[in-house]
């Protein structure tokens, strides 16, 4: 399954905005790790930004809600909001082909 993927973990750059220790933030991080391992074989480097601690950075990136995942590379950047529990949406966000039912 993973052999058909067009991306590899190496050229993916991710930044995840979370709000402190909120439950959805924790879920987002674990969901993201599981997704990456499943599709890329390994988890790429994820920069985690806590908006409560670093509000300015979040503002500069136009982050309104948490959690927000920003795929910085490959370009163009893509924002994905939510706890990343929706795998189909996440596949679309990473431009992976949809899984046939």
């Amino acid at each position: 399954m993973s052999g058909s993927e067009s991306e590899s973990a190496g050229n993916v750059l991710l930044r995840l905005y979370i709000a402190g220790a909120s439950p959805s933030s924790g879920r987002a991080l674990s969901n993201l790790r599981a997704f990456c391992e499943k599709h890329f074989g390994s988890c790429p480097e994820v920069e985690v930004v806590d908006v409560v601690k670093d509000a300015k950075q979040a503002l500069a990136d136009g982050v309104i809600v948490t959690p927000t995942l920003v795929r910085l590379a490959p370009a163009p950047p893509q924002k994905i909001v939510g706890d990343l529990s929706d795998e189909a949406r996440l596949r679309a966000a990473f431009e992976l082909p949809a899984i046939d039912a």
Partner: protein
């Protein structure tokens, strides 16, 4: 007493918008949340922003504007048109914008929450000591959540956050009672806020009508009525009638109508500070009467304002000069302000605010609105009547005498419903109509009512000529006032009758004078004759005495010579002479 009151009444934060502070009796609930609801273009963003701008500028309360819909750049640009210096406030650190527009390319993959945003706002609020906060277009954010349960959860989170942070907050949102999603959301939001202000915008007769209303205000009284409003050069302005309770001292003096004989009919003119309505069919010289009124005002050195919805300033000057009314000089000197306006340019309420501004700027004692019925074009008759009342209120408060004209066909004003029923409000009502007599159309003027004034009840003919405007003398015939050429004929007949009578009198007088002269000369002749006779008589008497003395001496001489004594004889002869005389 004051301290007790402070305990029961809630603290308020003035918005700085006079109209809103008026209808909310002092401003928004301090440290609490107000919902500003309304459809697209109803002015929510402007009102919310004004509250922040005035808060920062005038009340020392810094604020944060969170823009979910419009970009802050666009909001800043709009604000500049109202004269609010946003960059200065931003530089001073008393106003801050958060651009929180939703990126439409964002992919939603599971539940999310506002915690992050709220954390950022809290950080900024602490940094700048913010007291006020605006969430503009909360509905956009809630739509993104796309889940009733999430909406509810996040709204409650927001409410809790607002309560914790003690900010005076405004949440703006669209409201549409017909949309079930919005209606449900609305119910939820209304529950979490302490006050709800509703702004509306609708179109009546192609004209935009704006209104503002307080729907609820926990712990405070408020003006319950729907208020007319406009978005004008100062921002969102509410045509508030807070001066409605004021009782004006009734001015006592009189002010000329500009037509001397009309003044006489009104026992000296209009009351100063009164409202005058001149109704009539098209062309019955309503405008001319109005021009005469302002000309007279300017001639007295008073300032006058003439607002016309029909004619341009040049047309007013030109047309009135054809009947001997000279306005050009007064317009040039600045005493008279001629203002041409388009009736359908904006709503009646907007017109009122602009008229108010004109009056405040020019400060006239006499105002003409010609015709006031044009206001009905801006949102229907009800709006026009409200605006008329508002206008009369303004002029009464300033002691201004106002003449309004209104189109009204027919000769019997009472039988006709005045298009905007201003006639009930006006102090003096003059109706000009055409009367047709002997195949002629003439202008007939009636004073329908004039409060507090004895006034003539006679229908008079209004006569316009290059020498001016006046009322003709009354000629009645068979119970009707004669007008036009019939009046002229009657005048001519009367004049010739009068001339003839005059001649007759003259002739008779001459005859009598001649007779008198004759009698006088006869009298003089008789007197002369009398004097002649008297002198003749006197002469006669004296010669007889001389003669008698001589005779007596002669007798005496004889007697002495004859030694006879006959004194009685002499006496007897004297008696005989008297009898002869």
């Amino acid at each position: 007493m004051a301290s007790t009151r402070r305990l029961v009444s809630i603290a308020k934060a003035p918005t700085g918008n006079r109209g809103f502070d008026d209808i909310t009796r002092g401003g928004l609930p301090r440290g609490r949340t107000t919902l500003l609801a309304g459809g697209p273009g109803s002015g929510k963003t402007i009102v919310a922003l004004e509250t922040l701008v005035k808060g920062a500028r005038d009340f020392g309360e810094p604020g944060i504007f969170v823009a979910f819909e419009e970009q802050s750049r666009a909001i800043r640009e709009n604000a500049a048109t109202f004269g609010w210096d946003i960059p200065a406030l931003e530089a001073a650190g008393t106003l801050h914008f958060f651009d929180a527009q939703w990126d439409p390319s964002t992919i939603s993959a599971g539940d999310f929450e506002l915690t992050g945003l709220l954390a950022m706002i809290r950080a900024k609020a602490r940094e700048m000591g913010a007291k006020r906060l605006v969430f503009d277009a909360i509905d956009i954010l809630l739509t993104v959540l796309n889940d009733p349960a999430a909406e509810r959860r996040e709204l409650l989170r927001l409410q809790q956050w607002l309560v914790e942070n003690q900010l005076t907050a405004i949440v703006t949102g669209k409201i549409d009672a017909d949309d079930p999603v919005l209606a449900r959301r609305n119910t939820l939001i209304q529950f979490m806020v302490d006050a709800v202000l509703r702004l509306e915008q609708r179109v009546e007769g192609r004209v935009t009508i704006r209104t503002a209303r307080v729907l609820k205000y926990r712990g405070s009284g408020f003006a319950e009525n729907e208020m007319s409003a406009v978005i004008g050069p100062q921002g969102f302005e509410i045509a508030s009638v807070s001066s409605g309770d004021k009782i004006f001292a009734a001015p006592r003096g009189r002010v000329s109508s500009g037509v001397e004989r009309l003044d006489t009919m009104l026992s000296g003119g209009y009351f100063r500070g009164a409202s005058v309505l001149i109704t009539g069919s098209p062309g019955t010289s309503k405008s001319t009467l109005s021009c005469a009124f302002v000309e007279a005002a300017c001639a007295r050195g008073e300032r006058a304002l003439y607002v016309s919805f029909d004619e341009s300033a040049d047309e007013i000057v030109r047309n009135s000069s054809s009947v001997g009314i000279r306005l050009a000089g007064h317009a040039k000197s600045g005493l008279l302000k001629l203002q041409a306006r388009r009736a359908d340019a904006c709503s009646a309420d907007a017109q009122l605010l602009q008229l108010q501004a004109l009056i405040a700027a020019h400060n006239p004692t006499c105002v003409v609105v010609d015709p006031v019925s044009a206001l009905a074009k801006g949102g229907g008759t009800l709006a026009a009547l409200t605006v008329c009342e508002g206008l009369l209120h303004v002029t009464k408060a300033r002691g201004i005498t106002i003449v309004c004209t209104s189109l009204l066909d027919g000769s019997e004003p009472h039988a006709e419903a005045s298009s905007i029923e201003i006639s009930t409000v006006a102090d003096t009502w003059i109706h000009v109509s055409y009367t047709i007599q002997a195949g002629e159309r003439n202008r007939a003027l009636t004073i329908v009512k004039s409060r507090g004034t004895r006034h003539s009840n006679q229908v008079r003919e209004l006569v316009l000529s290059e020498r001016g405007i006046t009322l003709a003398d009354v000629y009645t015939s068979g119970g009707e006032v004669l007008m036009g050429t019939m009046r002229w004929l009657k005048e001519q007949t009367d004049q010739s009758d009068h001339a003839r009578a005059q001649l007759d009198i003259e002739q008779r007088r001459r005859e009598i004078e001649a007779a008198q002269a004759e009698l006088a000369s006869r009298q003089r002749a008789l007197e002369h004759e009398m004097r002649v006779k008297q002198s003749e008589l006197a002469r006669l008497s004296s010669s007889e005495v001389v003669r008698n003395d001589a005779t007596a001496r002669h007798h005496l001489e004889l007697s002495r010579k004859r030694s006879a004594d006959h004194p009685a004889k002499r006496n007897g002869s004297r008696a005989q002479r008297a009898g002869r005389k």
